[in-house]
Symmetry: C2
């Protein structure tokens, strides 16, 4: 859990990290930290899935997470009650998309997709200026991919889906397939060719389904030198000239990009959510 | 080309169809029809791809269509000039999504996806109350699918992409694979099992990427009795219980649905675009 204090310009004054233990252990630590800061509003970017339906009785709760101790935990209401400040919640990746669209790689754009490829794969979406929720919120880490014939583990490791993105391309999937942590696999290893292929399938589907103005790829796996270049190349190739836009045909290096805010995309997005929560509360006064 | 006259309540007073020949032949026919009606505004739902970037010099033009005589044709400006009324343009499938969300199967919802499966496959998207454009607009007919081993034509027929949705699941793809028009293939034929499989892969990806409140499946191929039921069943099965929403787990027959406006989804959406064009023009006065 990353806790930050800052302002609506995206400036972070203080930042600490806490281990995600149980609500009983972690919530008092979080409340204590923020109480000492005298914050005026709170923005939350949380792992999910989350209930983001404002008309729902369980609005702001974590729902069917594999982190069993947090399942059905009313995160928003517990923090609101504990801190007595206006608060807004969204997914961690939606917050990151908002942060990057406000002060980062997608600054000024009305649409972007932020994907983190790490211990899992998750994506946040800003579409026509709004964070996309819909029925639930995007869960694009689980889209079906087309496994390659050379892949020794074509079903992947996801307990829910055979051959989904997260099951094939997350950090743990790479480690399971090759028996070594991704960070230790050298740049020329076949693992990276396979990884780039799967991430390019994802980018192709993002372009064709969501048509964002920018695709931002973050998370630990993307730290591998040379990977994003391969993803760009394979994405352009797989689109086959069908999408005749300069972003794709002429300037892909400025279309599929790393986050500009580094590890703070989500924290900055959460600050903006906090500012919105404050504004909404003032409008209701 | 379908030409309709109606009002902002979605009521269609008159409807005719013209063959899509060349702009030189078809445009005068269209202009003549509308001039005689005394319309006060025009809404256009066009085949694409379209340039929908309002800051672009070619805003409202058809771009890289396979209908070569219409390539780079400035459809919006030609109609605006010829009729001297306020006009708005969007894709045919975005117009259909708007029509269904206003007066059809997705009435009152802030998000839906409308997919037509016919001579091609195209999709329109309403997200958080807005028609999705982004960089271009969704072109979801070309997402990569995972071809089945039993498919004798796993690469499909799309000239741009091996194994994309349109290449595998459009009407012409079915006809090429089985040598007979889809309408003549009986209900129990293996073609429909395969078709439902591919359309369910599409629905799964739509749920995970766009998270709409409703998926509407239209177009000639969907007229086959029993097909939509199979698509629903395979979609729920492939999602594997991961998306724990009542729409998916309890009421899929009310989530993946046929259009309520039949063949008029796009025409009704175009009427709403016309009303918006009129309103915008009055605001600028």
């Amino acid at each position: 859990m990353v806790l930050s204090v800052g302002d609506e310009t995206g400036r972070i004054e203080e930042r600490i990290e806490l281990a995600t233990r149980s609500p009983q252990e972690t919530m008092p630590e979080m409340l204590e930290f923020f109480r000492a800061k005298g914050i005026s509003a709170l923005g939350i970017g949380s792992f999910g899935p989350l209930d983001l339906d404002k008309s729902s009785k369980t609005y702001g709760s974590i729902t069917s997470t594999p982190k069993l101790r947090w399942r059905d935990y009313p995160l928003l209401s517990a923090l609101q009650k504990g801190l007595s400040v206006p608060a807004l919640i969204d997914t961690d990746v939606n917050a990151a998309a908002l942060g990057e669209a406000s002060f980062g790689a997608a600054k000024g754009l009305s649409g972007c997709v932020y994907v983190t490829i790490g211990t899992g794969v998750g994506g946040g979406v800003l579409a026509e200026g709004k964070l996309l929720h819909g029925m639930l919120h995007p869960e694009l880490g689980h889209i079906p991919l087309r496994p390659l014939e050379v892949d020794a583990m074509p079903d992947g490791i996801c307990p829910y889906h055979k051959g989904c993105l997260e099951g094939l391309a997350s950090g743990p999937a790479i480690e399971k397939r090759f028996g070594i942590k991704p960070a230790l696999l050298p740049q020329g290893h076949e693992a990276w060719e396979l990884e780039a292929e799967y991430l390019s399938q994802m980018c192709v589907t993002i372009v064709l389904m969501l048509s964002p103005q920018k695709i931002i790829l973050g998370g630990g796996v993307m730290h591998k030198s040379g990977l994003i270049e391969k993803v760009r190349e394979k994405t352009v190739s797989a689109l086959g000239g069908y999408i005749r836009r300069p972003e794709i045909l002429e300037n892909i290096a400025d279309y599929i990009v790393p986050p500009l805010l580094g590890d703070n995309s989500g924290a900055v997005g959460a600050l903006i959510l906090a500012a919105r929560a404050l504004k909404e509360s003032e409008e209701y006064k």
